[in-house]
Amino acid sequence: MLPYTYLLLIAIPFIGAALTPLVGHFFPRAKGWFAVACAALSAVVVVSIIPDVWNGYTPGYTYLWNDAIGLNLTFYIDALGLLLALIATIIGLLVVIYSVKYMETDEKKYNLSRYYSLVLLFIGAMVCLVLTDNLLVLYFFWEIVGLCSYALIGYYYDDPKAAKAGMKAFVTTRVGDAFLLIGIIVLYWQTKSFNIQEIILAVETGSISVSSFALPGACFILGAIGKSAQIPLHVWLPDAMEAPSPISALIHAATMVNAGIYLILRVMPIFIDVQYWLLAIGIIGGVTMLITAIQALVEIDLKRLLAYSTISQLAYLMLAASFGVTYGLFSSSFHLLVHGTFKALLFLCAGAIIHSVGSRSMMDMGGLKNKMRYTFWMTMFGAFALAGIFPFGGFWSKDLIFASALKTSHYLFFIVAAFTALLTLLYTLRMIYLVFYRKRDDEVEAHDPSIIMLVPLFILGIGALTLGFFEHTLLHFFTNSNMHVEVVEGLEYFISVGASITIMVIGFLIFRYYVHNRDKLIALSKSGITSSLYSAASNGFYFDRFYLWLIGGLLATGRTVYHKFDIGATDRFCYETVAGGTIKLGQKFRHAQTGDLNYNMVGIVIGAILVTILIFLPSIIDFLMGGV
């Protein structure tokens, strides 16, 4: 651990973020590399903590921020937090390197200083989020990463779709955030502490009864599903793909969306005895993975497909988390690491492809295999890892989840997870086929990106290929850090490996059928029951429609009250509903502000009467009671 690690952890990215505009102003060409330097430095600082945690030491530090409200900047660094911090800084570093070339063309139109500044701010906030022990501080950085995400989704501010998507992401995650805040406050009220480890200790020693933790437990779940884009708050993530591709890779695949899972894993010891808490997480995960995998199957926008895939894979993490501390925590963390790596890789590849082709629709791609050789191979690496094909990372981590499900007797979850794995394989193969193999009549112009963009791809590709073999290293890392986790071995493990291989075989068979009968299938998708299923899936199972309908309904009931406001609002989301109602109320209130001085004087008299009544209330009550 470096000296002043805690200070450096906070200072490097935040000061870097603040300085980027200045650097950009004086040395316009250097700001990208300045951001790379900052990201590299923070990565070095985080890496320097590894030996301490490996040796079983959990570094802690407290800075009294505002003691009066129990807000202290407490660091508590264990394997789980450090793993997340490593992902954030290292993938962050790779993404910033990638951005130097990728974002170059935007220089003239958009202010790149803003981009790098926000990315650095995000990295710093993410690291602090996962290393802090104080729930308030966690919430604070939770909001900052949300704000960064909002600002970066809307980075192309002149694109109305981007601005709308940013607002949608902001509002949707804020629903979760509000619950999280309520949860934190209720938990504080019950335990008189904001420090996670203190609360865990109190729960473990039994000095606090967990019987009343149902409400905060539910609030924490809602907060997590907002951030981690689980049903029903998942609608923002596909739209968030309006962000530049490196941002999708960093924020919406590898790091920020994991924050919700991290929160669940972090507070699991507190709520584990709350009835149905784990089950609720498992059900949310199970439902989400199935639905979004189906959506991914019919999506034709490359980035949206990856977004649905991300939601589905995050649902694996949720599902794994529901297996409890011993088996769930580690399998979830392991898949988190693997998924972060290969999904970032896939997004960066997708970015390279989109950059080259100039469209996000897979219909505009096809036959790119020979034109973008390196990108093709790296995408294959990522796709194989995603599909869980031996010996890529996803194979091992998914097996571990299957095995944990069997070990903890969650057979239904096992079936759902296995079936989703089949769907995953199918949509991955379909994606590969459509982008790289499909023959086109016309030629698509495409070429590999420059070396600066390829280097991060190669590094992540190697990660996707090899990370699976480091399962036991990671396990040691966790157990060394005083976490009581185990991996499943023996019969259950072999059953899952068998299941995985079966899925692989079935998947390839189905896919072969698909490639040969694609036209027939497309025709089928336009008729009968399948067509309704198909349209349901391609319409996001009507979640958006439902929200719009809900809001529309609310608006319709209040039409007489705020007729003016529902015209643009049906499309916009609940913030408009609330705002619309309040604004209308404001318009009513406005009439009270007549601007007539005489009325204002009446206001004074009314105020005087009200104050008199309130002040004399006890005396009046006394008088009346005395009368009785």
Partner: protein, 98 residues
């Protein structure tokens, strides 16, 4: 209760109510100023009514001075309103609202 309702207090209350009534009902800017003055004189009388001799008088003189300043400023505003915009009625001086 009766000990507080002596003649002075009654007069004070009457003056204050007249002042408030004037402020609520009159639309002429100068009459509003007169309303404030009546209100303020009622309060001044209450100081005198305390009967603490010299001290009360000293306080009252200060209050009167302050009143004069306020009235002077208000009147200067009225003059400005009248010379620049030709308005002396509150009804017409009513653009800021909502």
């Amino acid at each position: 209760m009766t000990e507080y309702l002596n003649a002075y207090t009654l007069l004070v209350l009457i003056l204050i109510l007249i002042g408030l009534y004037c402020l609520i009902s009159k639309r002429n800017m100068i009459k509003m100023i007169i309303g404030i003055e009546i209100l303020s004189k009622g309060v001044t009388l209450n100081f005198i009514a305390t009967g603490y001799g010299g001290i009360a008088q000293a306080l009252v003189i200060v209050v009167i001075v302050i009143d004069v300043v306020i009235v002077a400023i208000a009147l200067s505003l009225i003059v400005n309103a009248y010379t620049h915009h030709g308005v002396i009625n509150l009804k017409k001086l009513k653009r800021l609202r909502g």
